[in-house]
């Protein structure tokens, strides 16, 4: 089918090349500044080539105690992994039920899930959740930024769509005839078949959680930050040290770039997959 597409014209190629440059430049530039000294601040035109100060900048980053950068990285890794495992697991369970099991109220409940996708919980829930966390004494602790994100409607919906088309009903019927319980069907048939969807949902969830900012800013303190809070502390705590801020920013992006390089193909596939429906 791809062969029937028209060939890319020169104009198209130039345009795409321009888009690539525009997309990549700010990220590239972030890394460039991270390797330069503070003498480049405010330099016009801005420096475009890396320098040799990365080691020095990293050293200063570790030495900047107010930012708690290492703790921020660790905390973000913990929060993002926990949330990812939970979202993937609970979404696939619910998605499986919605796609393949018969039960009373299935459709209304599914509509309810869809409706909750439209509510901007990030904004709507921030005040009551904060009051709640303060009352529970959880403000400042990691569980305050983990618990509210353990499930999300998008995940359930995404998994339902995938299970629906990836697993034939006959397979499940056959397993039932063999005496498999529902949970067993999930483990031995559904879960393995979901691997591509799990990869995509997991990666997207991880990236999103890693980049979460508002809620951690409200409920955590700079003493026990996520990496985004460390960044914002780095930006705010100190006298103008651009290269330091850029080094932190670049470093906080490295894990996601690694993920992107390793799994970019699946992420692209997943976004396009989810969109067709």
């Amino acid at each position: 089918m791809n062969d029937s597409l028209p060939r890319a014209t020169l104009l198209t190629r130039v345009m795409l090349a321009a888009a690539l440059v525009l997309s990549a430049f700010p990220i590239y530039w972030m890394f460039v500044i991270a390797t330069r000294g503070n003498d480049v601040v405010g330099q016009v035109p801005p420096p475009l080539l890396p320098g040799g100060d990365l080691g020095d900048n990293l050293e200063r980053l570790w030495a900047t105690k107010d930012a708690n950068f290492l703790l921020g990285l660790t905390n973000s890794a913990i929060v993002a992994s926990t949330v990812t495992v939970s979202v993937v697991l609970l979404s696939s369970l619910a998605g499986f039920a919605f796609a393949k099991l018969r039960f009373r109220g299935r459709n209304p409940l599914l509509v309810l899930v869809l409706l909750t996708m439209a509510v901007p919980l990030q904004q709507m829930g921030i005040i009551p959740l904060y009051i709640m966390m303060v009352k529970l004494g959880w403000a400042g602790e990691l569980k305050a930024v983990i618990l509210p994100f353990l499930v999300n409607a998008f995940g359930v919906f995404f998994m339902r769509q995938y299970v629906e088309q990836a697993i034939p009903d006959e397979l499940i019927e056959a397993a039932r005839v063999d005496g498999c319980s529902t949970l067993r069907i999930y483990w031995s048939i559904v879960f393995p078949a979901l691997r591509p969807a799990i990869a995509v949902l997991g990666l997207l969830t991880f990236m999103q959680t890693w980049n979460e900012f508002i809620w951690p800013m409200v409920v955590l303190t700079p003493s026990n930050p996520t990496v985004q809070l460390s960044l914002s502390a780095l930006n705010g705590a100190h006298f103008q040290d651009y290269t330091l801020v850029f080094t932190g920013t670049a470093l906080s992006t490295v894990p996601l770039i690694v993920i992107f390089v390793l799994f970019g193909r699946q992420i692209v596939g997943g976004i396009m997959e989810g969109a067709v429906k």
Binding site: V85, L89, F239
Partner: protein, 431 residues
């Protein structure tokens, strides 16, 4: 078999993650018996070496320092949020005079330092500094003083030379006995130099002039002694407002907002040649400018003859888990010897009579600022400084006025519109 291995693997991942999660969040180093004290400061307090020394002298204490450069819009709201939530604040928190004033009615949120041997320290502080550290009803010693913002004016000698102006600090001081003379000097400067503006921005100057004008008009600013909102009636406010705007109208101001990145970059880009300098500002200038600008800044007398910008305090919130140790640390940091150390580090002018009299302060010269005799300039008059009376909501109203001044600088409001807006928005905040 296959199934169970997968289950086991997943369970292991989950267990690992949960274990890692539960290992976190504890603020003390487990069994070592070492406690961590968190110290919250803003701007520049010059405590780094004191912390190292304190940790060495008190092996049971580890200090975590959290600094935030922006005061009104970032540091204060977060601190108030933590106080209200009952958790999150440092064990020792720095309070600027304005915010302390608004908290003096909430003594129940702070440890009474008199319970921790604080009362004996009265003679270590200038009287008014000591008195302001007590709660409104005088029953509780809420905070101990750190510094006082005695006023001077900082200027760039190299840029003054370029403009054909004198560079010697005594001669420069004679250029501007009044603020009108200061503006006139600015016009002379600007006629010769382009690319650099005469002054950094409106906010610092406005606060400096206001703190000078206030004593002439009942010694208060936005609120009178009965807490009535009088920003529209107090001539001190209007005088300061108009003076700052006249600098803008004559195109003498860089229009930068203090403590923003562009303001900070401005130090390295020669964006401005003078700025109002409360004592602690010297530390800020040095940190922002870096070694390349050593000896390019100098300190002269401020127009209008001296003034008290205010200063800061340290307090221990009740929510601290280690109030005893935190109080000890606060006492240490505000003691005469520590005040001398902070003065040496960032020119935070002491509020302890002993420290002020100490030759290390009184006869100090600042190497970075052309060996300016900072002891003489700042310390000499410090004992006679009087505090301006501030209202409970002064920080909120001050923020409104600063924002409006920035907007006028951006050309978004005329001075007249700005005045009306500042007065009315300030009234909203005051209520």
């Amino acid at each position: 078999m296959k199934l169970s291995r997968k289950t086991a693997a997943l369970a292991a991942v989950l267990a690992g993650v949960l274990a890692a999660g539960s290992a976190c969040g504890a603020d003390d180093d487990g069994g070592s018996g070492r406690i961590t004290l968190v110290v919250d400061t803003f701007g520049s307090f010059g405590y780094e070496e004191l912390f190292t020394q304190y940790e060495k002298d008190n092996p049971g204490v580890k200090i975590e320092h959290r600094n935030e450069k922006e005061h009104e819009k970032v540091y204060v709201p977060k601190l108030l949020q933590y106080l209200e939530a009952g958790s999150g604040a440092g064990d020792v928190v720095a309070l600027e005079e304005g915010i302390l004033t608004s908290l003096r009615g909430q003594a129940d949120r702070f440890v009474d330092l008199a319970d921790h041997g604080g009362a004996a320290l009265e003679s270590d502080f200038i009287k008014w500094k000591w008195d302001l550290g007590k709660s409104v009803d005088g029953s509780s010693l809420m905070a101990l003083g750190t510094d006082v913002g005695s006023l001077a004016l900082c200027y760039r000698t190299d840029l003054f030379a370029k403009a054909g102006l004198p560079t010697d600090r005594a001669e420069v001081g004679r250029l501007w006995p009044t603020w009108a003379d200061y503006v006139a000097t600015g016009e002379r400067f600007q006629a010769k130099v382009s690319g650099t503006r005469f002054v950094d921005g409106p906010a610092a100057l406005f606060n400096a002039i206001l703190s000078q004008e206030a004593p002439k008009h009942g010694n208060y600013t936005y609120f009178d002694t009965s807490e009535n909102y009088v920003a529209d009636k107090n001539p001190a406010v209007k005088t300061a407002f108009d003076l700052v705007n006249s600098l803008k109208a004559k195109n003498l101001s860089s229009g930068l907002k203090s403590f923003t990145p562009e303001w900070q970059t401005g130090f390295k880009k020669d964006s401005f040649a003078t700025m109002a300098c409360p004592a602690w500002m010297l530390g800020v200038i040095k940190e922002n400018s870096g070694d390349a600008y050593a000896d390019k800044w100098d300190v002269a007398a401020v127009p209008g003859g001296g003034g008290n910008w205010g200063g800061s305090y340290l307090a221990v919130p009740k929510q601290s888990k280690h109030p005893e140790e935190a109080a000890e640390l606060a006492k240490f940091l505000t003691g005469p010897q520590s005040q001398i150390a902070a003065f040496k580090a960032v020119n935070a002018l002491p509020t302890s009579p002993q420290a002020l009299a100490d030759p290390q302060v009184a006869q100090a010269v600042n190497g970075y600022f052309n060996d300016a005799p900072v002891g003489e300039i700042f310390a000499a008059g410090a004992s006679s400084l009087q505090p301006v009376r501030l209202g409970v909501k002064n920080v909120e109203v001050r923020t409104v006025f600063e924002d409006v001044l920035i907007a006028i600088g951006q050309g978004k409001l005329t001075p007249a519109e700005g005045w009306t807006k500042a007065v009315e928005d300030g009234r909203d905040k005051a209520e």
